[in-house]
């Protein structure tokens, strides 16, 4: 956020720099051009209230001139179908002043894919803003047999067109020169809109365009273009229906739109096709006049790669193997830094303890704050390494292929292929998984994906499974080649997946919106060499967001949990064992208090304490049980801890407290419950509301309680107690 972003120093004795917007279709190399123009002087943040990334940077011009370049989200059209597109549209139409008063727009265009890219160019030119077209990837265009007459194109569009190869920084200086020339001498007469409408269409859209006079400061050609968009699309019309104004003004608007559509329909013109038909008719003419196309006979490298990577059989196998390798690598790479962070936090705590006088402040510092900071930092290695691979694959273009291969599976859940990566990542950890949902363009799909991601069995559940299976599940063969512990573990993973499927189907019904059926219209961009700089920026961004935004919440919760487990503190003269101390703490009292509620699940008050403390993170259950049983070695493979759990007897009845049935019930609870404060914190960050984390904790805890209840009571009924 702004307070943490580095400030950009503007040299004194200069006027405020001009604001220039950089826009373009996704996959046009916009980011490389932004980096080439601004260097390292970038500021990254978010648009207020939303999670759309916002980037701006300072660009140097001749004679000490500077300009601020705003990198807007990638978009295909000014008709906003996603939040990213809505933000870019608002900035360009002058409805959002977050990015200053944009007077010049640089549209980045993929030269190899000129025809479709010209759609956005044509829309932007009609806004009556100065436009420069940055014709990027000229080299790939030539290789693909697309030869563009740059001067002719510039003439037809009436705007400067600069040929560029951003990856080799060719043409960047020329682009910079054109930008500052346009800032210095704004052309007095802008082209009068690129689109020519015939009289009947002009007459039909005139009332809507006139209505816009009262509500905007758009020029006449921009008004005509926006009116055309409003009539052609309910999405654009709905944007205007949201604005504040007297009710009759909205009534007029609806009436004008309905009239215009009715008039068009009378003449057999489909209003939904109007803008696209008119613009592409003109684009096809310009394209024919300025581009000579000799598509080569041999297939491009991308097409040949896809023969394997999206092959009917090889494709899915490669996805599974690749992600298995990635997770394996993330685990093994992350282990060492995670251990390092844990021991650094432990020694920082020990150092603080020797420096400070005994008392509440010391305990708060050591066990509350330092341990809480440790709880935040320990997630970093996994987040950084996972995003290293995810960003790398995204930048090559492979992620779009994963979505293509997996879309059919997700469609039955009411989601699209874009949800696959976040859900797969959640098997490692739900935090990066939830952070990876930003590539899902549909807001509803993204929300459902966030809500079900924590049901995937993450790595933090493994210690709980290992402890319980190790202590209570006998190592017996099942169907010759399997073993009972292995089958139990697999069942837990499958249970999580089944619960996620069920939850997705329920959320799909609850969040049903008639006007947004899930669709899957996605470009499969050519494979490209990834930019290490972009990958590093992505890693830095995720780490920054996690620490600054989620970190505060995690720290606050860990201090509360520390307080619950440490107070009220008995006299230090009482020689209490750790077990007695924790059972008399607030957490212990809570454990006793909730015992009647968790008894039907087979849990006693000691597990109750474990449920409370393990809200910090699931694996904390293991260390809490070790404290309660006074076991030195607090690990899930500890033989002492397993024996202590097995031998625990009820002092009254003399019966075993923990049975294999209790262990299964506890594991089921941990599969389904949202026992993770970091997940809660990141959901708050990514949905920008406390509503969704609250719903998540409630539904997951409810589901966990119900499932454990059924397991335990059925087990008792069958005499398995």
């Amino acid at each position: 956020m702004s307070k943490t972003a580095p400030t950009i120093d503007i040299p004194p004795n200069q006027l405020a720099p001009a604001d220039v917007a950089l826009i373009g279709n996704p996959n046009t190399g916009k980011t490389s051009i932004f980096n080439a123009l601004t260097g390292l002087r970038q500021k990254i943040g978010n648009y207020p209230g939303v999670t759309v990334e916002r980037k701006s940077g300072i660009m140097d011009g001749p004679e000490g001139a500077v300009a601020t370049l705003h990198d807007l989200p990638g978009l295909y059209s000014l008709n906003p179908k996603s939040l990213d597109e809505k933000i870019a549209r608002d900035v360009l139409l002058g409805e959002s002043h977050e990015d200053g008063n944009i007077k010049l727009v640089v549209v980045v265009v993929d030269a190899a894919n000129l025809s479709r890219n010209l759609y956005l160019v044509s829309q932007v030119i009609d806004l009556d803003i100065s436009v420069i077209v940055a014709l990027n990837m000229m080299d790939s265009a030539e290789n693909a047999g697309v030869h563009i007459d740059v001067q002719a194109l510039s003439k037809r569009l009436s705007v400067p067109v600069v040929p560029i190869v951003a990856t080799r920084e060719t043409g960047i200086d020329l682009l910079r020169k054109e930008i500052f020339a346009a800032i210095k001498n704004p052309s007095p007469e802008l082209p009068d809109g690129i689109l020519s409408l015939d009289d009947t269409i002009s007459t039909s859209i005139a009332p809507v365009s006139d209505w816009l006079i009262e509500h905007t400061e758009l020029s006449s050609s921009a008004r005509i273009a926006e009116a055309l968009r409003i009539i052609s699309s309910d999405i654009s019309a709905d944007v205007w229906r949201q604005i504040d104004g007297p009710p009759d003004c909205l009534a007029h608007f609806n009436e004008f739109v309905a009239d215009a559509r009715a008039q068009l329909e009378e003449r057999d013109i489909s209003w939904r096709m109007l803008e696209a038909t008119l613009r592409y008719r003109q684009i096809d003419e310009i394209y024919a006049d300025t581009v000579r196309e000799v598509r080569p006979e041999i297939d491009s490298i991308s097409v040949r790669l896809d023969m394997v990577l999206t092959h009917r059989f090889a494709g899915p196998i490669i996805v599974v193997v690749l992600f298995a390798l990635i997770f394996q690598t993330v685990f093994s790479w992350a282990e060492w830094p995670m251990d390092l962070i844990e021991s650094a936090v432990a020694s920082a705590g020990a150092a603080a303890a020797t420096q400070m006088p005994e008392g509440m402040i010391r305990n708060l510092t050591v066990d509350g704050i330092i341990a809480g900071v440790g709880a935040v930092l320990v997630f970093l290695p996994q987040i950084l390494f996972l995003f290293f691979f995810l960003a790398l694959l995204e930048d090559t273009g492979y992620m779009a292929r994963v979505a293509f291969l997996m879309d059919r599976l997700m469609k039955s859940l009411g989601l699209s292929g874009r949800s696959v990566i976040p859900l797969l990542s959640s098997f490692a950890c739900a935090i990066p998984g939830i952070m990876a949902t930003r590539t899902i363009s549909s807001a509803r799909d993204r929300l459902i994906t966030i809500m079900i991601a924590p049901l995937m069995s993450c790595s933090a559940r493994l210690p709980v499974y290992v402890l319980m299976i190790g202590a209570f599940v006998p190592n017996e063969p099942v169907l010759v080649i399997f073993s009972l512990p292995g089958v139990t573990l697999l069942t837990m993973y499958l249970l999580g997946i089944c619960a996620a499927i069920a939850a997705a189907l329920v959320f799909k019904r609850v969040l049903k919106q008639s006007d947004t059926p899930t669709s899957f219209i996605m470009e499969l961009p050519p494979y490209r060499r990834p930019s290490i700089r972009w990958v590093l920026m992505q890693m830095y961004e995720r780490a920054r967001i996690f620490i600054t935004d989620a970190g505060q919440i995690i720290l606050a919760i860990s201090i509360v949990l520390w307080f619950l487990a440490s107070y009220p503190q008995a006299d230090s003269t009482d020689n209490l064992t750790p077990r007695e101390r924790i059972s008399e703490s607030y957490a212990g009292q809570l454990g006793h208090a909730i015992e009647p509620a968790i008894k039907p699940l087979g849990f006693d008050w000691k597990l109750g304490i474990g449920l409370i403390t393990s809200f910090a993170a699931r694996e904390v259950l293991v260390s809490t049980m070790a404290t309660i049983y006074n076991v030195e070695e607090a690990s899930e493979t500890s033989v002492d801890l397993r024996t202590a759990l097995r031998n625990e007897t009820d002092p009254v009845t003399g019966e075993r407290v923990y049975t294999p049935l209790v262990a299964v019930s506890l594991m089921v609870f941990f599969v389904l419950a949202c026992q993770c404060m970091a997940t809660v914190a990141i959901v708050k960050r990514e949905t920008n509301s406390w509503l969704w984390p609250t719903i998540m904790v409630s539904y997951m805890t409810g589901l966990a309680y119900l499932a454990s209840l059924i397991v335990y009571q059925t087990g008792i009924g069958l005499g398995l107690g």
Binding site: N79, Y119, D234, A276, T310, L405, D407, E523
Partner: protein
């Protein structure tokens, strides 16, 4: 004349009709699929859906249900 989703890998066709009745079709038109546009059917995803097309020199993935409303003439 047949619907776009009934093409086979390698088939080339020209779009002959789009009903323009849904927002998805309007979206496809923004992406450059219009009456008269040439499309090439590249492949089908492993589970039969979605499909991959080449249109205006780029590759686009759409679901069969979205392709079904578009009619084409094979060439």
């Amino acid at each position: 004349m047949c619907s776009l989703d009934s093409l086979l890998p390698g088939d080339k066709a020209v779009i002959s009709s789009i009903s323009g009745k849904t927002n998805e079709e309007a979206h496809l038109m923004e992406m450059g699929l219009l009456v008269g546009t040439q499309v090439e059917f590249i492949k089908t995803a492993p589970l039969g859906d979605p499909i991959e097309l080449r249109v205006r020199g780029y590759h686009l993935s759409i679901r069969r249900s979205e392709a079904h409303a578009i009619l084409v003439d094979k060439i």
